[in-house]
């Protein structure tokens, strides 16, 4: 009876540990990610496969994530809403945002680089200087156009 109880206890403990490993190691659930964020917007000509929950990075380090993407009806551009961690409070007003691709076929993410101004972006501000995603068809089109005009 004693051995039964011990082994059942060990079994259930193994299950709990397995769940923890799945949570922390396999799915990368970050428990300390309760840090506050502020919202920054950016308009892009073409988001080319960027989705909500994509990363926002600076020099490759994650500083936030994309929370929403919608079409700006007046300017006919994609308006991307980003949640930036509160600890990153040094994004200047002339920062630039760029849609990048991880690897050749990897997922899309936003890379932010800081400018030279003294004023910093506040909650609800827009990043003016943006560069759209690289779309293969556009590139091929430009290449052909250049060839033709030669």
């Amino acid at each position: 009876m004693r051995i039964t109880e011990i082994s059942v206890g060990a079994f259930l403990l193994a299950g709990i540990i397995a769940l923890l490993v799945l949570a922390l190691n396999v799915s990368g659930l970050n428990l300390s990610n309760a840090e506050g964020t502020y919202t920054v917007y950016a308009r892009f000509e073409n988001i080319g496969g960027l989705t909500a929950r994509s990363k926002v990075t600076m020099s490759g380090v994650q500083i936030g994530r994309v929370s929403n993407i919608e079409l700006d009806e007046k300017m006919l551009m994609a308006r991307v809403e980003m949640q930036i961690f509160n600890s990153v409070d040094y994004l200047t007003t002339d920062s630039s945002a760029m849609i990048l691709t991880a690897g050749l076929l990897g997922e899309k993410y936003i890379g932010v680089s800081v400018g030279a101004e003294d004023d910093v972006l506040k909650d609800g501000d827009y990043i003016r200087d943006t560069q759209s995603a690289l779309v293969l068809e556009d590139l091929v089109g430009k290449f052909l156009l250049n060839k033709a005009s030669e």
Binding site: F11, A14, A18, N25, S27, L29
Partner: protein
């Protein structure tokens, strides 16, 4: 006319069996909990269906993870994206293979044993004797076995996933030389705890419910002869495998499909 009557009798028999299984399930589910007497019985059954199934689960999880890592590598290396092996192994294990393969192994390892045990109790009239001395066999025999299976399958599936992921990492990272950092980072980026891990475990909970329900019902309802017990054991394995595979499609469509 005779054939028609036979068809009708067969269908009515199936329906009646389904109804009886529902009645048993109802008795098990709404029985008044008696922790004092139930807990030792439940522990004993968790030991039988859970702890003793651990070896087959760990071994098959390890090998399935290793095979996934190897197969994924040989295909993905052609496209130069062998780092994606991590996410392929983890997603296919957590979402699909862990709950399904665990449930199939569980049906073969524990479900058949449950059916045979209960069937033999019925054939040797132990169940009737229990009733005679005023003990409800549904509560004393069936309920602990049912709950044990219900609790054990998600635990086993979680262990299966973890062992499989590390098996895939063993082959991919240690033997085939995928860069360790991108292997785990890709995996962690693509696997979501709530959408993937918890949905996979929810599948395992459903399968545990269905498999043990079928197993205890087939045992309780079998023809009390040696032939009847062998038929009931076979039916347990066949029916629960079919039920698991069919339910898996339905659950996958509901969880991950766009409709």
């Amino acid at each position: 006319m005779n054939q028609l009557a036979q068809l009708g009798r067969g269908a009515l028999g199936k329906l009646a069996a389904f109804g009886r299984s529902g009645i048993i399930l109802g008795h098990v589910l709404v029985a008044k909990p008696q922790p004092r007497t139930m807990l030792p019985l439940l522990l004993q059954q968790i030991y039988f269906v859970g702890v003793l199934s651990l070896i087959i689960i760990v071994v098959s999880g390890l090998f399935i993870g290793m095979v996934l890592g190897l197969q994924g590598y040989t295909i993905l290396v052609d496209y130069g994206s062998e780092q994606a092996v991590g996410q392929m192994v983890a997603l296919s294990l957590v979402r699909e293979l862990a709950p399904v393969v665990t449930a199939l192994l569980f049906a073969g390892r524990a479900g058949s044993a449950l059916t045979a045990e209960i069937g033999l109790m019925k054939a040797t009239e132990q169940l009737s004797s229990l009733e005679m001395i005023g003990v409800d066999p549904l509560r004393r025999i069936i309920a602990p076995r049912f709950w044990a299976g219900f609790y054990c399958l998600p635990v086993l599936a979680a262990i299966f996933s973890v062992v499989g992921v590390y098996g895939g990492a063993l082959v991919g990272v240690d033997w085939l030389g995928i860069y360790e950092g991108s292997f785990w980072a890709n995996m962690q980026h693509s696997v979501d705890f709530f959408d993937d891990v918890l949905n996979g475990l929810f599948k395992a909970v459903v399968f545990g419910f269905v498999v043990t329900w079928i197993a205890v019902f087939q045992g309780y309802d079998c023809i009390p002869t040696s032939e009847g017990i062998s038929q009931a054991t076979t039916r347990t394995v066949v029916l629960s495998s079919l039920a698991v595979l069919a339910l898996d499609f339905v659950l996958t469509a509901l969880m991950f499909g766009d409709f």
